[in-house]
């Protein structure tokens, strides 16, 4: 007899990325996760550079800084601070909202429905605007070739 058990139909990890056409916050969730993981990678790299190379004295440190002072790492640094600005500010929004702040009160379900996060969309937009301001600042610094 054929196997008649219901067939597995989960989206799996691909479902983190896309499961239909949703608006902003579902993609901010993804970006928060990706930037978090990216910052871990950077943190490992950064800490290794600043500990192991630093105790070896001035010559090794300066050689490391010299090695890092090239366009690839400069772009990398810009990406890291951008990811950080997003993760930090979106993280603060999540902390507030996940503790029930800034979301208002339950409303009677009268059509057309609008959920709390979309009634208070302004907070998400304020967060993103603040991220943009920081990124512009970082970009000016990057374009000016600030110390790496």
């Amino acid at each position: 007899m054929a196997d008649n058990r219901p067939r597995e139909n989960s989206l799996g990890i691909a479902g983190w990325v896309w499961a239909g056409n949703y608006t902003l916050e579902r993609y901010l969730y993804l970006l928060h996760r990706v930037t978090g993981l990216g910052l871990i990678l950077f943190g490992i790299f950064h800490l290794t550079a600043t500990t192991i190379f630093r105790v070896q004295g001035e010559a090794v440190w300066n050689a490391t800084m010299e090695f890092l002072n090239n366009p690839v790492f400069m772009v990398g640094e810009f990406l890291v601070v951008t990811a950080f600005a997003f993760h930090a500010l979106n993280g603060l929004r999540l902390i507030l909202q996940e503790l029930g702040f800034t979301l208002g009160k339950p409303v009677p379900p009268i059509y057309p429905f609008k959920d709390a996060i979309r009634r208070k969309r302004l907070w998400t937009l304020v967060t993103l605007a603040a991220v943009m301001v920081l990124v512009v600042f970082f970009f000016i610094d990057f374009a000016a070739g600030g110390p790496g």
Partner: protein, 120 residues
């Protein structure tokens, strides 16, 4: 309760990391920020100024706190992600231990150097 504490700590360490990393980055970019305002100082990234900071207890304290909070936040966050990938409880237990061991080794590495610098 365990989960509530771990995840509330995730939020608190997030805020602490935000504050401390802001200080950290602001200092690294001090030259840029001040030159915006028309001042010129020696490069905060230069070896001497860095070693200078490393010898002050306050800076060592800030860096060690940043490391501790940052490691907890990053590794607990990583574990939360792994929890959602459908791994078996046994695999998850192994991974949790690996993450804890990695965190301890990294914390030792990261504190050893500032402590050595503090005492030289």
């Amino acid at each position: 309760m365990k989960n509530a504490y771990l995840n509330f700590a995730q939020m608190i360490t997030g805020i602490m990391v935000a504050v401390l990393l802001f200080i950290h980055i602001a200092v690294q970019k001090l030259g840029v920020i001040l030159s915006f305002l028309g001042f010129k100082i020696s490069d905060p990234l230069a070896f001497n100024s860095m070693m200078e900071r490393a010898r002050q207890g306050l800076w060592a304290g800030i860096y060690i706190c940043l490391l501790a909070f940052g490691l907890f936040h990053a590794l607990n966050g990583l574990r939360n992600i792994l929890l959602e990938t459908g791994l078996s409880p046994a695999k998850m237990r192994t991974l949790t231990w690996l993450i804890i061991i990695f965190g301890l080794i990294f914390f030792a590495l990261g504190t050893y150097v500032p402590l050595v610098l503090l005492t030289t």
